[in-house]
């Protein structure tokens, strides 16, 4: 696997000899896109922070991998922490930061000890005065959102705020800050040092009704058939969920896993999470479970998400228990659109995508529940 390759601080040494602008243009030329889900070019993000003048700057490594079904960052932290830490050092050196934080989700606390050891080792080997601290989260899905992560490290409730100002201009403690996902930062040294580094390889987190779930590294453009076959499903697969926030599609074997194509189906590939759901499962039940998740994880700051997620859940419970009629489906759909269009942050905006896509692709399952009435 490409992600398990090591640079052994060769990339750090090379990047240190280069001008920051050159490092950034190299990353952009190589095509390193953010792996947290937004696919924003990493180099461009760094450029904004580089151009923001300030006495202090920060780098945050987002290890708050909370999207249900996702465990690729955990895989990297366990299997290639050296390269991740090297990537953080290169990021700091490029934008001129002396301090970095790794925001590690609380559920992964058992990784903290070894990661601390690796940080010490790599910093010593790299002979740098850059400081890297681990900040442990405390259980909040929203803290994967970049402005919420900033608030959380600052010691406040992890609630997002309106952008601009963007973090690269005014971020942690009011200073220019870049926030990159674990997988993005771990790829930085490899992109810098390896001539044959492939920007299209992604870590897919496969789970659900599969005999061989796990992390699989495959290029974008792979067919759904090929990818899901790796997981060895035992029954016929009905739907694929891109985590909870990414929506669902019917298992159309010929479809290619490509972010633009997935977008065109009304879904989001995001961080390459795929939960395979077989024919024995009820989509209405899964939708209800996911709605419960969003109701629980809504941070409570903006009204559409806070109140809407509760209404959505009660409507879905009504449908799943067979107490609803067809008008309730219409109301559900309308409410989903309002929440999507009026929520403050990505959590709220994407929180109903799974319902809208389920209604589009598996509407008959909802209608059947209502017909019982």
């Amino acid at each position: 696997m490409q992600i398990l390759e090591k640079s052994g601080l060769e990339a750090w040494k090379k990047a240190k000899e280069m001008k920051p602008e050159k490092v950034i243009s190299l990353l952009n030329k190589k095509g390193l896109a953010g792996r947290g889900g937004a696919c924003f070019p990493a180099g461009t993000k760094w450029e904004f922070a580089l151009n923001s003048e300030s006495d202090k700057k920060y780098v945050i490594c987002n290890a708050d991998e909370g999207e249900p079904g996702t465990f690729k960052d955990k895989y990297i932290i366990i299997n290639n922490p050296e390269t991740l830490v090297e990537g953080i050092l290169i990021a700091c050196n490029t934008i001129g930061a002396k301090h970095a934080y790794i925001y590690l989700r609380r559920e992964y606390r058992y990784l903290e000890k070894n990661l601390t050891k690796i940080i010490k080792k790599i910093i010593k080997k790299a002979d740098t005065d850059i400081q890297i601290d681990i900040v442990l989260g405390a259980g909040a899905y929203i803290c994967g959102e970049e402005t919420a992560i900033i608030r959380s490290i600052e010691g406040r409730r992890g609630q997002p705020y309106y952008k601009p100002p963007f973090p690269a201009v005014e971020g942690l403690f009011g200073k220019p800050t870049i926030i990159n996902n674990v997988e993005t930062l771990a790829n930085v040294p490899l992109a810098i040092i390896k001539d044959d580094w492939n920007p299209n390889l992604r870590l897919f987190s496969l789970s659900g009704n599969l005999k061989n779930p796990g992390i699989y590294e495959m290029p974008l453009g792979t067919s759904l058939k090929e990818l899901i076959a790796l997981g060895k499903p035992e029954k016929s697969i009905k739907a694929i969920y891109f985590g909870c926030a990414g929506g669902c599609i019917p298992f159309n074997q010929e479809w290619k896993i490509d972010p633009e194509f997935i977008n065109s189906t009304g879904c989001m590939l995001g961080s390459c999470t795929m939960i395979a759901v077989d024919e024995s499962q009820s989509i209405v039940d899964i939708v209800t479970i996911i709605a419960k998740f969003f109701e629980y994880e809504s941070c409570g700051k903006c009204t559409p998400c806070r109140e809407g997620s509760m209404r959505i859940l009660s409507l879905l419970e009504k449908i799943s228990l067979g107490y609803a009629n067809m008008d309730d489906i219409k109301l559900l759909e309308e409410l989903c659109c309002v929440i999507r269009d009026s929520s403050l942050c990505g959590l709220g905006q994407s929180s109903t995508m799974h319902i809208l896509t389920a209604l589009k692709n598996f509407r008959e399952e909802f209608e059947e529940k209502c017909r019982l009435r």
Partner: protein
């Protein structure tokens, strides 16, 4: 006690790690601790309380000696987590958010813990237990009780 709090503040610096450390020490974040912390850090009481109650792994009430966080996200759900949760609830006689009378267990049904390839899974005092079955649960509970 106050000098110990000073030490925590000095070594952890940021509020979230300070609160985590207090909870590690006491099992929860008491009102008294919040008041003391506010006095020493000049952070308003309301703000500290707001943070202490925002995150699902922080608590302002005492909990059991063994804390279970069991996942009910889709990957675990389609692998039968609901049956496992019902079994635990029956075995312990408590629902999510509750603590057993003997103060031995607290149960939280929560969000994904990132063990989706080994579903269903849970954290027991921060440690992963996966591919859960009723038999496994029985063994885990028995071990905690002995």
């Amino acid at each position: 006690m106050p000098d110990k709090l000073d030490k925590i503040i000095e070594s952890k610096k940021l509020l979230l790690p300070i609160l985590t450390e207090i909870q590690d020490r006491d099992g929860y974040i008491s009102e008294d601790n919040v008041r003391q912390l506010s006095k020493k850090t000049k952070i308003p009481l309301s703000e500290i309380y707001g943070v202490a109650t925002f995150y699902s792994f922080l608590t302002t009430k005492p909990e059991g000696r063994n804390i279970i966080h069991i996942c009910n996200s889709p990957s675990c759900y389609v692998n039968g987590s609901l049956n496992i949760i019902e079994f635990i609830e029956k075995e312990l006689g408590i629902k999510s958010g509750q603590t057993t009378e003997d103060k031995l267990f607290t149960l939280h049904i929560g969000s994904c813990i990132g063990c989706c390839d080994k579903a269903p899974a849970m954290l027991l005092n921060g440690e992963v237990h996966d591919k859960l079955t009723e038999k496994k649960i029985k063994g885990i509970i028995k071990k905690c009780r002995s």
